[in-house]
């Protein structure tokens, strides 16, 4: 649900949650990112950093430099524009749910990220497909055909949560977590997709792997995809995965930016 007016919730005296709603939703996320963009663009004095999530923006601030009242006022001045933009564009575009036209970072470009769905390395694709009542191949095709948007990062560095998963692939998370994910795991769970970086246990299903490193400390830039940016997956076979993985290990960036079709 999206609130008519955002809630301002204190996390102590030096952090303020601006909560736009309580759901995972493209329009809601676009509002969060529009406000986040205002902070990134204007960099007001006294703001340490902002943390966008699906439905809220956490503003870390120094209250001795900017009071809560001043911060809320600053945000309020920028809200009507973002709400109106998101509403109008949603009405006008009729686009996929995760694309709010005119939303921040919707510049008509998208990342193309290679992904291998071969069950040999996509460890859980058979299990997920069986739960969804689909052949594994159909799951892979549907996943690769969809348009996604990076909603937020969380959990661990470079774990990128994606909106835009087709409804047919909406699968609940596991009741108990599986073991650590392989590197570069592409997962589905809870109605979303996710690209993971380092191995961690998870309740999601590994349905693919990308040779791309979404996070690498030894590469500039260390992170490729910003919250709010669009992406799609490009189907690759196991041999291509192995070849690209070797190139990525050398620091090469494999994902491309292309005009969105």
């Amino acid at each position: 649900m999206r609130y008519d007016h955002p809630r301002f919730l204190d996390q102590g005296e030096a952090a303020l949650t601006v909560e736009f709603g309580d759901a995972v939703d493209a329009e809601l996320n676009a509002l969060v990112l529009a406000l986040d963009d205002a902070f990134l663009r204007e960099r007001p004095q006294g703001i340490r950093e902002t943390t966008p999530t699906y439905r809220s923006l956490l503003v870390h601030y120094e209250p001795l430099e900017m009071s809560r009242q001043a911060l809320v006022g600053w945000i309020e001045q920028r809200l009507p524009v973002t709400v109106r933009e998101a509403k109008q564009s949603r009405a006008a575009s009729g686009a996929l749910d995760c694309f709010v036209a005119g939303a921040p970072r919707n510049d008509g470009q998208e990342w193309v990220v290679p992904c291998c769905y071969d069950p040999a390395i996509a460890e859980d694709i058979e299990e997920a497909a069986s739960n969804l009542g689909l052949p594994a191949r159909a799951l892979a095709e549907k996943h690769a055909a969809a348009d996604y948007r990076a909603f937020m990062y969380g959990f661990a560095p470079g774990w990128c949560y994606l909106g835009g998963l087709p409804q047919a692939l909406a699968i609940p998370r596991r009741l108990a977590p599986r073991g650590p994910t392989p590197e570069g795991a592409v997962l589905i769970g809870g109605g979303l997709s996710l690209i993971a970086t380092n191995p961690m246990p998870t309740g999601w299903y590994v349905i693919g792997r990308t040779p791309e490193r979404l996070f690498s400390l030894t590469r500039e830039p260390p992170f490729l995809i910003a919250p709010g940016e669009a992406l799609r997956f490009e189907f690759i076979d196991a041999a291509t995965f192995a070849a690209l993985d070797a190139r990525a290990a050398q620091g090469e960036i494999l994902a491309r930016r292309e005009a969105r079709a």
């Binding site: 919730l9 204190d10 996390q11 102590g12 005296e13 030096a14 952090a15 949650t17 909560e19 309580d22 759901a23 995972v24 986040d36 340490r48 950093e49 902002t50 943390t51 966008p52 999530t53 699906y54 439905r55 809220s56 923006l57 956490l58 870390h60 209250p63 001795l64 009071s67 809560r68 937020m152 990062y153 969380g154 959990f155 661990a156 560095p157 470079g158 774990w159 990128c160 380092n198 996070f215 400390l217 260390p222 992170f223 910003a226 919250p227």
Partner: protein, 332 residues
């Protein structure tokens, strides 16, 4: 001349920390940074350093190689020894090659900072030197046999000084909290129980979070929230009803309701509690929290008073000889 700081012994959880890694929470990166910021600033400002070694209850033993070093120590009431001489828990010393600085858990406190009048020759990771062990960002936790190369070594003061920093004398007054951001996920009884109970710091407490043992806190409308950013000091209550205080190594977002958040001025005092020690909470508003923040900042800005240790200890003849002997012999 190349100087190095030699790690002769280190318990688990001894790390390099600077102010923290900011600006990357949007990519899932933990800010890290010191557990007790006031103690960290006391040590680093005494020697003009940007980073310090954060010593856990496991302790550390350090030696200098190639140069005499100015070393400032501040934190909990740890047991500090320069060779055989016992030093106060907050002090500024000259560490000469051949002398051994040993820091162990003392009367109280969980963290102690050792700042060197030099720069660690370590690469910045995402703009920071702070170790985040779980994600492998920043330097590895320190271990016996490690050596940190030092650059821009500053001359050490003559003799040892006690650092008189009254803000490091922590009392057991309640930890002040502001309710929220998700206090509306709890029953009034749960909030009352949270504010009126005595809590114990659990054994499963570390740089990521402090577990609290006490009454179970009942959620009023489930224990799952759509992920939300998490600030340091936020007190998160998962389905078990047992709260956790999120600390420096917390994940930047989380999916459990946060009943309250410890205020900045009390975070260091909270961090210095050891597993098994008890605490309670008291609700305050934003104005009081900011006043406490300003008061601490002003005290820190006014600076600590340095008292030459030889003079102070001359009234305690017992230690004076050892101390002076230790310092003097260290400079030969």
């Amino acid at each position: 001349m190349s100087a190095r700081l030699l790690i002769r012994a280190a318990g688990p959880g001894v790390t390099v920390q600077d102010a923290g890694r900011f600006g990357y929470s949007r990519f899932g990166v933990t800010p890290a940074g010191p557990m007790d910021e006031a103690a960290f600033l006391t040590a680093t400002r005494a020697v003009g350093a940007a980073a310090a070694i954060e010593v856990s209850l496991g302790g550390v033993a350090l030696e200098s190689e190639g140069a005499e070093l100015a070393v400032a120590i501040a934190g909990g009431a740890f047991d500090i020894r320069l060779d055989e001489a016992k030093l106060p828990p907050a002090c500024l010393i000259a560490l000469a090659p051949g002398a051994r600085l040993a820091i162990r858990a003392g009367a109280s406190g969980a963290w102690c900072y050792v700042a060197i009048g030099a720069r660690f020759d370590l690469p910045l990771a995402l703009g920071s030197l702070s170790t985040h062990a779980r994600s492998g960002i920043g330097p590895k936790p320190l271990a016996a046999g490690d050596a940190l190369r030092l650059l821009d070594v500053a001359p050490a003061l003559d003799g040892a000084q006690a650092i008189d920093a009254p803000w490091l004398a922590r009392d057991d007054a309640p930890i002040r909290v502001m309710l929220g951001p998700q206090d509306d996920y709890f029953t009034p009884e749960a909030i009352e129980a949270f504010l009126s109970s005595k809590w114990r710091v659990g054994a499963r407490s570390d740089r990521m979070a402090y577990a609290l043992e006490g009454p179970n806190l009942t959620h009023s409308r489930g224990h799952d929230i759509v992920s939300d950013g998490a600030a340091i000091g936020a007190i998160q209550v998962p389905g078990s009803g047992a709260p956790f205080v999120l600390m420096a190594d917390r994940q930047p977002t989380g999916g459990y309701p946060k009943i309250a958040t410890a205020i900045g001025a009390d975070l260091g005092r909270l961090a210095q509690l050891r597993p098994g020690e008890t605490l309670s909470f008291k609700e305050v508003g934003w104005v009081e929290a900011v006043a406490a923040r300003a008061a601490l900042k002003n005290k820190l800005a006014a600076g600590a008073v340095l008292t030459p240790l030889a003079a102070e200890l001359s009234t305690e003849k017992l230690l004076a000889v050892n101390l002076i002997g230790g310092v003097v012999s260290g400079r030969e």
